[in-house]
Structures are given as structure tokens and as C-alpha cells.
Amino acid sequence: MASKRGTGKRKAGAGKISVTVREIPGKARTASVARGAAISDLLSSLRINRERVVVRKNGRLLPESEALSNGDVVEVVSIISGG
């Protein structure tokens, strides 16, 4: 695991990690979650209902139990469409 510390980024609080969330459709934002948090924790902290989205990292679909690492970039893709 490459260390991303000390790159000038705002340092996440103690016991916290920082991840980038790209909502599709929507925009990117940074979120801070507890170390060891899973994707499902991230979704609930962002008030995104997991029934409405699928989550990808580097193009791969992820189970929501997967733990996040500091610096992760995840895509949260809305699945609600016109039918």
C-alpha cells in the first residue's frame, strides 16, 4: 500500500481516511470516513441509499462490504432510470 501522506492534502482526522467519491451523474467530492470503513458505511454517511446505486473502483464493481483505503477513488453510479 503506497503511502499518500504528506502530499499537501488536508489531513484526515485521527483514525480517519479520505476518499474521493465520483457520483454518476453528478460531481466528485471528498469524503472522510473511519479507518476500516466499508463502502456501505460511506454510502450511509453520504445519505445515499444503496438500493439506488452500484459502486465501482477502477472500473470494477465492488461489493458493499469491501473496506476502503485512504486515497481510494470510487464511482457511485445511479441505477434509477426511466425503465
Binding site: 444503496r50 452500484v54 464493481l61 462490504s65 434509477i80 432510470s81 426511466g82 425503465g83
Partner: protein
């Protein structure tokens, strides 16, 4: 992949295998598509109908006793329908399935956008117009194409929403028409509707589409935020997260109760609409009622007094 309602975590291969098993089981258990059927597939170009098209093609294209035709209803919603129509065309071209398009402008005399412009968005939500127009045109196109069944891409979420919406609106008549097979009562000219994906959660249909590289149009209808369905969907999704299995429970409960209630409910004999001849619960079907309503609203507006109802 996680199936929260069973607590299972599946890899892509097992997820796909399980998806097929459930679709096949539902098709055969309910006898949705049988030998001799010509199936009209309602194809909007969205994920549900595009997955349905691919699923039915995979299951039935090699059969000589079953044939498929795709039907797209063009409601006339600017900026929304044209891209999905292209997706639908491409999908049919790729799979070699005949594709017919039927439009509200031709058959209803107005596009949905025009209807909304006349009627406004408050009293009659665009979705109630659209639902009636779509069902009507799907039936007309299916009959013209010689279909014995119409298959639509309704998923578990849609079905659970419909059950709760009918409760919220107190619409018992509409509720009586829910179920695996819709319109079983035989009526000349009415093509029976089936929903092969109605026990598959929406999210799993999206996952199936992504995992199998099925192209679909992700656009959301510009009118959907006006609908009661949107509120009901949020409520059900909140319940599902807190209580996994909620959606299945809602649909299964309705499925178990309805057959008993339906027997006593359909007193009135279905009749033919006096204007267009389609199946109707009164002398004039909803499609023709709406067309008349819009005509008189438009006349009222043209008189210059804003046409208050």
C-alpha cells in the same frame, strides 16, 4: 455482489447463474411464454427493457415455435425519447429482432409534451397520461404485429411500488389488476401482458446489464420527479435497507391475497370502448377520455380566459 435479502455475497459468475435460474423458474412456474406464442417486447431502451430483450432473445431465439418482436412507444418527450430510441434500434439490429415504433403523435393526436403543455403538471400528473397512452399503444402495436403476449420489463421494485401506490391512492380497481399475469380475462383484441423480470430487484437488473456489457440509456424521464412513484420508491428503499426483504414481502403478500379477492371483485363485464374498441371498464376508455379532455381544455384556453377547470 451482495444480495442483502439473503445475506449472500456472490461473484459475477454465480450472480449471473442465479439471475438466469430465477428468471427461468418464474417463466415456467407462471407459464408466461409457451409454445405458439408471438411475444411483443415493450422496449424503451432503458436498462430493464433492454435486459428483457436480451434475456428473451437468449432463451427463445432458437425456438421455431416462439417468435419475438420489439415494440417501442414514442410518447413524444423531447430530449428523452430520441436517444433511447436509438439504443433500442441498435439492440434490435444486433440481435436480429424485428422492431416496430408506435407514436403518440400519430395515434393519440398529440405528443406527451403537448398534452402536458395543455393540461399542466398539477392536477393530472404527466405520468397518469403517459401510463394510459403507453399501455394503450403497446396493445395496439402488439395486436397489429400479431402478438399473443406482450412482455414488459417491470422489476421487483416497480411491482412493490405499484402495490403501495394503490394503497396510498386508495385505488382498489387498479390494485385488482396487479399480479404475474395481467389481463388474463379474455377479451377480443386485448393482448395478455406478462412481466418475466418482476421478481428481480432493480439493482440486480442494473448489475446484470453492466456485467454482460448490455448497452442501455441511463436517462431519467424529465417528468418522473412529479410522480407519487418517486416518493413511494424512496420510502420502500429506506425500508429495504433497514429491513432487507421488504420488496419481496410486499409483492409476495399482494400475490397471495389478490387471487382470492379478484374472484369476487370483477363483477362488471369488460366492454369495448365506444370510440376506439379497446378494452374498457366504461363506455369510453381512459385513452379516449384523455383525448377528449385535452380537446376541450385546449378550446377553453383558445377562448382566451385561461380555461379554468
Amino acid at each position: 455482489m451482495e444480495l442483502h435479502y439473503t445475506g449472500e455475497v456472490l461473484c459475477a459468475k454465480h450472480f449471473t447463474r442465479k439471475f438466469w435460474r430465477r428468471v427461468k423458474r418464474h417463466l415456467s412456474k407462471e407459464g408466461l411464454i409457451t409454445s405458439g406464442d408471438r411475444v411483443g417486447i415493450g422496449l424503451s431502451g432503458g436498462k430493464d427493457s433492454t435486459v428483457l430483450l436480451n434475456v428473451l432473445h437468449e432463451l427463445f431465439s432458437r425456438r421455431t415455435d416462439i417468435s419475438l418482436v420489439a415494440i417501442t412507444v414514442d410518447e413524444g418527450i423531447a430530449g428523452y425519447r430520441s436517444p433511447s430510441l436509438e439504443v433500442a434500434r441498435r439492440a434490435c439490429g444486433r440481435l436480429g429482432i424485428k422492431h416496430v415504433v408506435i407514436s403518440a403523435r400519430d395515434e393519440f393526436g398529440r405528443t406527451l409534451d403537448e398534452a402536458v403543455r395543455i393540461a399542466g403538471t398539477q392536477e393530472q400528473a404527466p405520468c397518469s397520461y403517459c401510463g394510459v397512452i403507453r399501455r394503450h399503444l403497446l396493445n395496439v402495436a402488439a395486436r397489429r404485429a400479431g402478438c399473443t403476449k406482450v412482455a414488459t420489463g417491470h422489476n421487483l421494485d416497480d411491482e412493490a411500488e405499484s402495490v403501495l401506490m394503490d394503497f396510498v391512492r386508495g385505488d382498489v380497481n387498479k390494485m385488482m389488476r396487479l399480479g404475474a399475469k395481467v389481463g388474463v380475462r379474455s377479451f377480443k383484441g386485448f393482448v395478455q401482458r406478462v412481466k418475466p423480470l418482476r421478481l428481480i430487484p432493480e439493482k440486480e437488473i442494473a448489475l446484470f446489464a453492466i456485467l454482460n456489457g448490455i448497452e442501455f440509456d441511463p436517462a431519467v424521464c424529465p417528468y418522473s420527479h412529479l410522480a407519487l412513484r418517486e416518493d413511494v420508491r424512496d420510502a420502500i428503499n429506506a425500508l429495504e435497507v433497514a429491513h432487507p426483504g421488504t420488496k419481496f414481502a410486499i409483492v409476495r403478500t399482494a400475490d397471495r391475497i389478490l387471487p382470492h379477492v379478484q374472484k369476487g371483485f370483477f363483477g362488471a363485464v369488460p366492454q369495448a370502448c365506444g370510440s376506439c374498441g379497446e378494452l374498457s371498464s366504461g363506455p369510453l376508455c381512459r385513452f379516449c377520455q384523455y383525448a377528449e379532455e385535452l380537446d376541450s381544455m385546449e378550446k377553453g384556453k383558445k377562448k382566451g380566459n385561461g380555461g379554468s377547470a
